[in-house]
Amino acid sequence: MLTRPVTGPSFDNRTPLKLVPTGANTRPVVDARATGQTTESLSANVEPGHSGDPWRADAIEAASGNRAAFERLYRAHAQRVYSICMRMVSDRNKAEELTQDVFVRVWQKLPTFRGDSAVSTWLHRVTVNVVLTQQKSDNATKNRAISDDEAIGIAPARAAFVGERLDLDAAIATLPRGARQIFVLHDVEGFTHEEIGEQLGISPGGSKAQLHRARMLLRQALSR
């Protein structure tokens, strides 16, 4: 991913693209995504284990039933988990339910966590799995499968963000579900097309195509 200043380029004779950060406190970019570390989590750190993962010790404690350790994991990761859920489903109530589901699942699965990735990375993967599982379950209940093309054409979820100008989060919320999921997973959360394809049951090529469509739709939405 190239690093370029977030400016407002102009094209044709239309007004420049206006991109507004959705909050005053932007989270750290690469480091946070890779390691899950935030200022909040570092301030609540226990002494890191030998692997250097700041959450390994708490994960080990929580796996043996230490509720306080698990709450520390929750406090440090809840916002990120909720953000993933919210951006993928664009429904606040559902996102909060899914966030709870994620942490209950994490509590159940912690004893089986082998530590071959950072705790934060593993937790985020669990989050994506929980969201996708729930959505597939919803589809099964409605007794229809969602093909790649159909996912692109699904009516967009109602935007859950309110603002005078359409910021990126609000624009993401207007995307068709399939395109929204892939944009969030790839551009926001950093998953590869292969990983996305594996989780969504589509080809990496299909993932790329939907990402391209998502980006083009966002460009349209943000240029209004």
């Binding site: 991913m1 094209f11 991109l19 809840a78 966030t99 990126l168 790329k208 083009m216």
Partner: protein, 245 residues
């Protein structure tokens, strides 16, 4: 934009079609160079590239969102409910002497599952073969009727991604919980009993995996869904029996 038939607009169309690969520098060398040369001289494609860069950069810096309330109390309550149900089962099996148990019932259940699962897989494979003659599926054998008694050669069940049906999630929650107790319980039983239990659980897991495989390929099949439920119920039944030994 230029006339749709002009080389310039054709390049613009090609640029847009290959935009994702261009941004990731994943195009073949000459093609990447051609796109870069084009974008230098095309205002609209240059703007498109810049807009994409901006969107990608901003997406990477989106801040975390906050839920409307603290979800910890609800999460903690759900975990408590989970622990209470497991501890109730633990209390029942708190003090038991090691003993050998007749495991005929486990063997019968496992053998029945193999028949059910094989039948489900056979039905699916036969239907798939009829529907798509060009498939490589061919010469599907009829299901095996029984598991040889005393057999010790049980293949490990292949890992199959978890199905996404709500009922299955419920089963799995209880299976995970019971499995923890069973793993502890096995320490109280003699080695022959443990061997038989584990052997039969492997057979059941294989049946579950087969059913899941078939269901992934034919997710709308009520028959396959029912078979998978039965397999999971059988596993639960076996685990409950072991817990109560």
């Amino acid at each position: 934009m230029s006339d749709s038939a002009s080389p310039h607009s054709a390049m613009c169309a090609q640029f847009e079609a290959n935009l994702s690969n261009f941004l990731e520098r994943a195009l073949p060398g000459l093609e990447q160079q051609a796109m870069e040369a084009h974008v230098l001289h095309c205002a609209s494609c240059s703007a498109l590239r810049d807009d994409m860069h901006a969107i990608i950069a901003l997406a990477a810096t989106l801040p975390n969102l906050k839920a409307s309330r603290d979800l910890w109390p609800d999460i903690s309550a759900r975990i408590d409910a989970d622990i209470t149900s497991i501890n109730s089962a633990r209390n029942i099996v708190a003090a038991r002497a090691p003993r050998r148990i007749s495991l005929q019932a486990f063997g019968i259940a496992a053998a029945a599952l193999v028949m059910i699962s094989s039948g489900a897989t056979y039905a699916f494979m036969a239907r798939a073969k009829d529907a798509a003659p060009s498939n490589t599926v061919a010469n599907v054998a009829a299901p095996v009727a029984t598991v040889p008694a005393g057999s010790t050669t049980v293949r490990s069940a292949p890992f199959i991604a978890v199905s996404n049906r709500p009922a299955e999630s419920t089963y799995e929650h209880e299976i995970v919980a019971l499995r923890r107790i069973v793993d502890e319980r096995l320490g109280d039983l003699d080695s022959t009993t443990v061997f038989e239990i584990q052997r039969n659980l492997k057979i059941i897991d294989k049946a579950i995996a087969d059913s899941r495989s078939a269901l992934i390929k034919d997710p709308h099949s009520r028959f396959l869904s029912t078979q998978l439920n039965r397999a999971l119920e059988t596993k639960l039944d076996v685990l409950r029996r072991v817990v109560l030994l």
